[in-house]
């Protein structure tokens, strides 16, 4: 607890920040599952799969940044970079699951 009032603190309503975070999580969850399906279908392996995920996530973040927040993500998140980081690693598990599933179904069985 710092003794000073940070003038910017007052500008954020916790409830809305939480709601935005939830929305981001929802988007990321669905998106990482779809990305996983795509990666598995394409038969990506090793590093290329992970690169695909991070590039895909960055693309999604950029889309949200440009279209939904109109370049002013500071209005919706405490830090404007949050739009690029929030939920990226949370989605990784589902990505791996769906990637493995589709890769297995298509490329491992005869």
């Amino acid at each position: 607890m710092s003794g000073q009032i940070n003038p910017d603190d007052a500008l954020y309503v916790d409830m809305f920040i939480a709601k935005n975070g939830q929305t981001m999580n929802f988007i990321r969850s669905s998106y990482s599952a779809v990305l996983g399906l795509a990666a598995g279908t394409l038969g990506l392996t090793n590093l290329s799969g992970f690169i695909f995920y991070f590039v895909g996530s960055a693309f999604l973040s950029a889309l949200i940044f440009v279209i939904k927040t109109k370049g002013k993500s500071g209005l919706y998140f405490r830090k404007s970079l949050d739009v690029f980081t929030e939920g990226v690693f949370g989605g990784l598990f589902s990505y791996i699951l769906f990637w493995t599933l589709l890769y297995g179904i298509i490329h491992v069985y005869d």
């Binding site: 003038p7 603190d9 007052a10 500008l11 309503v13």
Partner: protein
């Protein structure tokens, strides 16, 4: 075409009180029976429309909603509270009080009923009883800032300013980011003749909400009064130089704000300029 159910849902989520809108959207929904297609949401809509109907005085609609709720949830405390409110609306205050009392006997933690009871006492013209009940309620439901606001209002009606100031301090701790509450606190402080503190609070108002006119008026009032008074020896007090700067700033912003085309009616513009000149 907006979806009325969606608008009602948004209004419920934001807890805005717009009874006219709610009734105009909800009445056709309920009368055509379309509300039943909303499944679980239907009962929330009934409750919302019932309260709004009481607000605008459409007793028939309220009766219909509450009856529907009563048949769905017989004996529910939430529905009985609505019945109590309906009795209040037609002026049967004592009977409403009976209902609230019965609810509280079953479940002493029922927040809605205890709130209604306070307001009932207020409506009956017993402010001191209302204050006592509200204090008891806030002792338990400490985090209800609306309760504290209500208590501040009650104290203000009784001209008990220091108690009202105390309530506003609680509100400020619970909702520090709302400039309206800071403004109210500042005005109470000014009334108590605590000009130095009031100035700081007015500054906070303008800091939170840029060019807030009432805040600027407050700054102007406080600064000019402090400038006229003998400079305080207190180290924490605002320096003379700062006071002059604040006075100037407030005047400048007010002139700019009133000077903007279409910002205010001509008469109020004249009145404002006159007031600024006399200060």
């Amino acid at each position: 075409m907006v979806n009325p159910a969606k608008v009602l849902q948004d209004l419920r989520a934001s807890a805005e009180r717009k009874p006219d809108v709610v009734v105009s959207l909800g009445k056709p929904l309920i009368e055509s029976g379309a509300v039943l297609k909303l499944d679980a949401d239907a009962w929330l809509v009934y409750e919302q429309v019932a309260i709004a109907a009481l607000d605008v005085g459409d007793d028939g609609l309220a009766y219909k909603c509450i009856n529907a709720l009563e048949t769905k949830f017989p004996g529910s405390a939430r529905v009985r509270r609505l019945q109590g409110m309906q009795l209040e609306a037609v002026g049967k205050l004592a009977e409403a009080g009976q209902i609230y009392k019965a609810i509280l006997e079953e479940d002493e933690t029922n927040v809605l009923a205890s709130k209604r009871q306070v307001m009932l006492l207020r409506a009956m013209g017993l402010p001191s009883d209302a204050i006592a009940a509200l204090v008891k309620y806030l002792d338990i439901n400490y985090t209800d800032f609306e309760g504290w606001l209500q208590l501040a209002d009650l104290y203000l009606e009784e001209l008990m300013y220091s108690q009202a100031a105390f309530c506003m301090e609680e509100v400020l701790m619970l909702q520090p980011q709302n400039h309206i509450f800071h403004l109210k606190y500042a005005e109470i402080l000014y009334t108590q003749d605590n000009i130095q503190l009031a100035l700081k609070q007015y500054c906070r108002v303008v800091e939170l909400c840029k060019d807030h006119v009432r805040g600027l008026y407050g700054i102007k009032l406080c600064a000019s009064r402090l400038l006229k008074a003998t400079p305080s020896k207190d180290a924490a007090a605002t320096s003379q130089e700062d006071l002059e700067a604040m006075d100037l700033l407030a005047t400048e912003r007010l002139v700019v704000l009133y000077g903007a085309p279409g910002a205010a009616a001509e008469s109020s513009k004249v009145a404002a300029t006159k007031w600024i000149e006399t200060q």
